[in-house]
Amino acid sequence: MATIDPAPGTLPKPFKPPVVAPGHTPGTVTDKISSVVLRRTPKWWYIGFGVSFLILMVFLVSVSWLLLKGIGVWGVNQPVGWGFAIVNFVWWIGIGHAGTLISAILLLLRQEWRTSINRFAEAMTLFAVACAGMYPILHLGRPWLAYWLFPYPNTMGMWPQFRSPLIWDVFAVSTYATVSALFWYVGLIPDLATLRDRSRKRVAKVIYGFFAMGWRGSAAHWHNYETAYLLLAGLATPLVVSVHTVVSFDFAIGIVPGWHATIFPPYFVAGAIYAGFAMVLTLAIPLRAVFGLQDFITMRHLQNMGKVMLATGLIVVYGYTMEFFFAWYSGNHLERFTFLNRITGPYRYHWFALIFCNAVAPQLLWFRRFRTSPFWLFVISIIVSVGMWLERFVIVITSLHRDFLPSSWGMYKGTMWDWGTYIGTIGLFLSLLFLFIRFLPMISIFEMRTIVPGGQQGGEYTDSPGEQA
């Protein structure tokens, strides 16, 4: 992240556009962003939400069938005991990471350009985690007993088995979900107050007011608030790193060749950030166009995110390389066979596709021409998302399908219900996202105020009328 811009205050160089277009004041920022929420619902929103909701229904149908018949409606088998469910789980969780990263780590690193993207990045985190969180439950043979994974006193006198990475998952993911939610909500409070004061409708005032908790921007409050926000960021940072580390343990702790690797934690975390930023771009690029937020989500943001992707992408590629190197260097026949099987075995096409998506395509980002073209960034970000899904597929399936005893080798293929569940969660994700951009400010208003002229850095004062719709 060394590539990212210098300390705030220095004049942006010509090729590096500012984080906020000139001419904005706290007032205009406030009005512009809150108006997105407060004005009448645009027709396209209904369309967008409707479509996402339909996809969500696909999810409901698939899950109902799953619960009715049993896990057997999926493609999982012996020896491939884990399939789409775990692949999707890791994929979604990974996507989630960018949000926390942007809002927490970049905050600690004083990267002010984060301000205009952190809010919906965090929302994205929450929704991604919501999607991810369902898979570990759905993939159980007896999902209705999922609560047995939580430690609680019961009539059986039984407790969870704390040596299992799955229990670590339970703790990590639930903590992650909770902390992200808190972080997000705390960040929202002042903006909820803003909406409370801006909205005209009584109902809206009451609802926003209820959640604003009577925030009134007292200096003393701001002081505690800032402290809390910083502390949360400080807690979320190690947390986000731990979460994907733990997810990687699900595999690294196993003895399956192709899973049992010490390099997993770092390269899973990198992969997560990689996937996450890809998703942020995938969402940010259309959003800024639709809502004309180019002023706030500027080329500078897109470029920085492109750079982060390039950097993390390279780390991931390094991870792949090392896996193969270790396999060869360890001299362990089983390891060698597994990785040879990845390239030459029945799933070689998945592997080549993965290499193209995650290693080859992103190299375009070396060139500013692509870094600064929303279109290309969008395309690349999509490719990377696909690539990251393939990565998990390759890790989970190809390692399992030919492990220790050749007699037990098998193949795995997702069924229509696997696909239904996967696509369905995308529907859930989008539906939540649409609701979010409709009813909450997708950019942190109060933080934007601090970075516009007339904000904290002072600057000329422009009077603007009280309320405008």
Binding site: M158, L405, S407
Partner: protein, 1052 residues
Amino acid sequence: MDILNPSKGKCGAEAAAQPEPARLDLETVRERLREKRGNELWRSLDDLAGTPEFQDFLHREFPRFASEAPEEMTKTDGVSRRRFLQLTSASLALAGLTGCTKQPNEAIIPYVKQPEYIVPGRPLFFATTLTHGGYARGVLAESHMGRPTKIEGNPDHPASLGATDVFDQAAVLTLYDPERSQSIVHNGRIGTWGAFVGEAGARLRALEALGGEGVRILTGTITSPTMAAQLQDLLARFPNARWHQWEPAGSHHGRAAAQAAFGQPLETRYDFGAARVVLALDSDVLTRGPGNVRYQRDFARTRRVRKDNLQMSRLYAVESVPTNTGTLADHRLPLPAPEVEVFALALAQALGVVSGGGAGAGDVLADARAKRWLPVIAADLKANAGAALVVADEYASPATQVLVHAINQALGNTGRTVFHTAPVEVIPANGADQVESMRQLVADMNAGRVELLLMLGGVNPLYTAPADLGFTQALQKVDLRVHHGLYEDETSEYCHWHIPAAHELESWGDARSFDGTVSLMQPLIDPLYSGRTAIEILAVLFANRADATSYEVVRDHWKTLLVGDFEAAWKKALHDGLIADIPATQLPPAGASMAGGAAQAAASAMVRSLQQVRQHPGMVTLRLRPDPMVGDGSLAPNPWLQELPKPMTKLTWDNALTVGPAMAERLKLVHEDMAEVTWNGRKVKAAVWVLPGQAEGTAELTLGYGRRRAGRATGLGFDAYPLRTTQALWNLPGAEIRPLGERYSFASTQNHHALESGAEEIPLAGNEAERRELIRTGTLEELRRHPDFIQEEREKPAPDETLYPPVEYKGHAWGMAIDLNVCTGCSSCMIACQAENNIPVVGKEQVLRGREMHWIRVDRYYSGDMDDPRIHNQPVPCMQCENAPCEVVCPVAATSHSDEGLNDMVYNRCVGTRYCSNNCPYKVRRFNFLRYSDRDTPVLALLQNPDVTVRMRGVMEKCTYCVQRIEQAKIESKVENRPIPANRLQTACQQACPTEAIVFGDINDPRWEVTKWKADPLNYGLLEELNTRPRTTYLAKISNPNPALEAEHGDH
């Protein structure tokens, strides 16, 4: 899975056919209970039992139950232990629904009069007999409160010695099979016994005047002394009646050969225990045929190498299609089917049994390698004359078998390793040749000379009769056609009457085993489906004993023969399950002197046929053989057998046209291609299986599939019978195979996806297995020179190579050892485990997805040249690792270690993450992806072993070392305050294993056999380098190659 459910349509129809709908029969009971589950089911069965209809039903179906049995009977054979309603009292132990916190209400139903020998909650074992192709095997049936649940071998029975084969184990499932025919059918409608006896009886009385003219009886091979007597009397009273035998997979050529060689259809049996050198000519003698269990046991004992016994016999196998026997061979030579017979000829010449010997010996052979092998083998046989044994395929041409008889005689093996006795089966007046007998029958039928045809004991000629006879058309010309069998089948469809047969576990009877031993059959339960035995039918129809029960008939028969105190002798016989040391029952040993010139004649006959065969090279010989699992097809409806992987192909729910790799290439065929086989203008379609090790020019299609009317088995696989004619029953030279360009998909349990994942998977798997040293091998020579060579190859990490403090197992420490040197891959262990542990059947579609549930499997690896590979079998149960990788990853502690080192699996705690299975290097864990256990069919609940939980959907399961047996043994020892006697506690797989390849026990206690095995230098663990510390270990596979052939291929 409703794989075991009877089709509801059928039941509906029958229910409708009921004269008075108010009355119940088992079908309706089942209908009422169909939607019930687990405990609830039992409750409602009880409720139902109260209703008047049910009482009425009981009176009709189970008269003995309703009105107490005569005291005398209750005492002698304990009929009351088999009363129906007791079955419902199984609720006290019956495994049902798992995982619910609140218990539904249940009922306890005690006896009215409790038989003194029954202790509720403890099983009883009864000696009885099961027959296969007419031949007997003595077994012990385990009975829980009147429900037979498991078959074990009868240790006192010469054909078993305590072991069983797959068919024995499968018998209990057939017993309860809801698809068995359950009521008398008259012209497609429900009939009554009375009406049948009326009609048939009337017809018989009419014919009696004519001395029974027009009466024909068709049975399978009969060895039962009682039935023999019945038939004798019958034919005495009806001199013009005829009795025909047709056993599709019987030893027709064996009989013919004996006839040719000895002038009479003598029985031939072997003593492998006495043989130092064995040559098997295309013969799977170890795992096929009536004597197989005993043969395996005897042979294994000559192969069990230990540090204190470095002796073992040598086995040569010359075969066209790989067999279990072949996998054990020290030298295996693949030759085309006809060439194998030529090899017999060449050997005869080489040994001077027939002319053309001396220098010219072997000239007849086409194959270069065969030429090289012949003298070596001949020499080895000579060297061991008297302790050698040459075995021909019982399906090989009579000529070949005659030559082999001659060879054995020349070598002085006869009387030492080969024995001839008078025929075990009862030979009808019209001769031993069953094919001829069938020809006569059909001729008579066509000529309209048959008025009444009784087909007894489940014969199914419409499916199995030689195709050229036109049995179907002929049958139509018979006025009154009666079929008696366990199932409604192809034949019963064309009969006026179908009489449900009683299962052997429901019947009184007797039969002889391969060595002539008379074995008694006693029922474990009253007929579930109102079946009747052939003995009863004969008695009722021909002996005018209207109310005769087979119990009386059999007992009366033996009354005359059992000398001395009959009651005592009878009780003893029943207790032992066999009638020993009574002269009247012994088979006279035949002075087997070969008819002069018989061998020479056979030789020249073979030379003649050889010329035709050799005329067109590249010609294919199609072998037809009984299927290893469903035999001649009569066992096709048995799901356990259907899902039991066939030893060589690991194929389930299908048969296949197997061809060798080279030939497949030549014929442009790939795995799972559909092909058309043509022979003499007869055509059959079948899918191709490319089988490594199968000789060029040889294809095989097993019988027993493509059933047209067999319930759930209908339409499975491909029917080979249309190709089978009286000219050629077993080997069809000159067959053509032509690709059809269609595809088929086989459900195999090993390397399912040979094509999908690249056809190279099978060789790759084999070579990987070798590379990973899963199966450690060596030769006897190596072992003698260097006893510890296996130990030095081992990569077992030292105890201090781990960070963890070692766990001490004081007291018992259960472990298992498996001797790869004697495992034939017969798969008895798999099905025994299935029966013992309530393992569900999943069906073809699920097997295709790789979800079979067997707790122990037999892995089969090919390595080396796929046309002549090394073939290995390796039984793989749970390794019960001390450092179990599965346990560490379970989030809810559903699998953990017991104090005695068992890797416990707690179904009711399992949430089903399947992480344990992923992390199991041996992939022995099995998951209930769907609701596989059938709880909808009440009668199948009776089959369940009450000591093992029936698993529900979504939970993991696996081999437990039969923990229920361990716990039972421990509890008994505690109650009686004594230690568990060494080697008495056996797992189900161990108990069933014919070769004693599996031992189990307390590895902390030197008295147990397993402890000795584990101390043997051949002992090693699978994937030890992972430091899982498996409790199950293997003894390396040692071969005893002939130094003179070493060069041929490396250690086998």
